[in-house]
């Protein structure tokens, strides 16, 4: 195995007209380039971020509720479950907003990885990206990634103050707020879909059929 490593690297270096690794100074400049977090060209837009975020989310078949305060979240959740006739058995992630929810008695809330029979998960977003209407969800001990993919429905809580304008803003926040990247950083834009049958979109291919955001704040 390590022989192949040497062989592959040697062939690459030969192709680049070198016999050995690049000079230390070159390698340092490459690391500097990475560390500069230099942003290249990107599409600039002036639209207000919340309006943009919600427009983009709806355009990819997402739904949302917008509530003023965390007190109103539970009502919105219960209403969503009712609307889609989903039994109130929820698998929940974690976060400051989810953890402070007071669940009505009829709701069963389980904090565990999802299994294939789970109907609905409730998660908390790290941020929302207004540029594309994208949610960013991080895996964590109490926020298993399976919540994003196995259940039929996913409800995501998003703090209005955590909606950023551009995708690069996410990388900046990740670097600032976390010591290292979590195991998964999921950028989710709308529910699961496929166009593999007759080149026509159907929802709920493998991931959730429906993605619902509860936006909190004013």
């Amino acid at each position: 195995m390590s022989d192949s490593r040497v062989e592959v690297l040697q062939r690459i270096r030969g192709a680049l007209k070198r016999t050995g690794p690049a000079d230390w100074s070159v390698q340092q400049s490459l690391q500097d380039r990475i560390a500069s977090h230099r942003i290249s060209v990107r599409p600039i837009y002036g639209e207000e971020v919340i309006a943009r975020f919600l427009d983009k989310h709806v355009a990819v078949h997402g739904t949302y509720d917008w509530v003023d305060a965390s007190n109103d979240v539970m009502d919105a959740v219960v209403a969503y479950l009712d609307r889609h006739s989903i039994a109130p058995k929820v698998v929940a992630g974690s976060g400051s907003m989810i953890d402070s929810l007071s669940w009505p008695n009829e709701c069963t809330v389980e904090r565990r990885p999802a299994v294939k029979l789970d109907k609905v998960a409730i998660s908390e977003a790290f941020v929302g990206i207004a540029e594309t209407g994208t949610l960013v969800l991080l895996s964590a001990p109490s926020a298993p990634a399976s919540h994003n993919y196995l259940p039929d429905d996913q409800i995501v809580l998003l703090d209005i103050k955590r909606v950023v304008r551009y995708q690069e803003d996410v990388w900046t926040l990740l670097r600032d707020e976390l010591a290292r990247l979590p195991r998964t950083v999921s950028l989710i834009t709308g529910p699961s879909k496929t166009g593999d049958v007759e080149q026509t979109i159907e929802y709920g291919a493998h991931g959730p059929r429906r993605l619902h955001i509860i936006l909190i704040g004013s």
């Binding site: 690297l9 990107r42 995708q167 496929t194 080149q199 991931g207």
Partner: protein, 476 residues
Amino acid sequence: MSTTTQTVTFGEQVDLALNNVSLQQAMGRAESGFVETRRHCVEAMPEFEALKDTARDIKEHTLEHLDSYLEFFEEKVIENGGTVHWASSGEEACRIILGICQQADARLVTKGKSMVAEEIHLNEALEKAGLEVVETDLGEYIIQLANEMPSHIIAPAMHKTRSQISELFHTHHQSLGYVDKTTTREEIVSEARQVLRDVFVSADVGITGANFLVAETGSNVIVTNEGNGDLTSCLPRVHIITAGIEKVIPSLEDLSVFLRLLARSATGQEMAAYTTLYTGPRRDDDPEGPEEYHVVLVDNGRSAMLAGNYRSMLRCIRCGACLNHCPVYTAIGGHSYGWIYTGPMGAVLTPLMTGLDNAYDLPNACTLNGRCQEVCPVRIPLPDFLRQHRVRQNQRRLGSGLSRRVVSMWAWLARRPRFYQAVMALPVRLLSYLGRHRGAFEKLPFGRGWTVVRDFPAPTGATFQQQWQKRKRSEP
């Protein structure tokens, strides 16, 4: 499925494809779908051309320092608890992956879409060793059931009709308890969802490709609309990533450039539904996630491409835009290309990876119209590469000797313009005379290549040069 003598296979495949009504309908739908949606996206983003320049530059920069970036990436993967394997050849990559699976006592393997895995015939290698391998991308699953090659790199089952898919599911799912035949699209997708869910949760090993490898963080990035890449990466005990060595990019900010281009170029979406960065196996306190995280870096001819005149082909991000915009691909479909890489990028790659003599027709069945290069998000000079293949074929005397001799003769004449004009004057006059009543020929001796599908308009009298010289002579 290996490539056979292309000259025979290509013509037959093309014939089948041109006469396959449902294929033509599917291609028509896809063309208007992908092409139109991409156009809308592009029109909505004034920065698109500048973004393509940037993407090209990032790729060229990375390729120029490929060894360093791969080593940075490897360092980070190891730091995060993963393992990096290096494979010179496809066979070696298969051996490595099989070894990991056997070490893990694996029985069932789920697969996200990976062109590299198909390139190295990974499924066959694993199945031969007794493992069950299930493709999870719906299109790949369908062609796996049908035992066919993908016909498009983004929509591999594009050539299949709804009723064909229905049949396949009925045949293969009955033993799983699905007695009724699905008919609607919704039912088909629903059944696939249920069937594959069982597979996802029982798999021992999940194998995915990588759209990008990020050197800064040691992450691999997978982009899907279905979510199957994530289910393949999260649930099994072992996650293996197969990636060509050219997949590495330097930073997260660079990743954003490519993410903005990829979905737009592939399917006309601003973002696919799921874009996920995976960094290593489960952490100590993670309740789920793979215990092992392996990245298999595959060379399989890429370092040779780096050294040669086709280096820019390594910029390719496998978006499929060139396929979608190629009028030849749209007419003949993916199977005509004889391998997993189709359309313009396939016409360049297949001869490079499987031999120039093995795929004679691919670089030649092209009008060099240039639309592929126009839409390529990393500005690969595809027509130039196809012409370069033709030069090498010519030098190695591959293909029709008659064709080479005719062209050679034409060129010999063309270099002697006065003689050329004298030689051409007679047949032109003759054809002009013979065609004067009808204006065009339905048939011509030696002209079957033209007349089989269109009439040949008759020349219209003496040549321009003859008439021009005559006019000059009669002027004062």
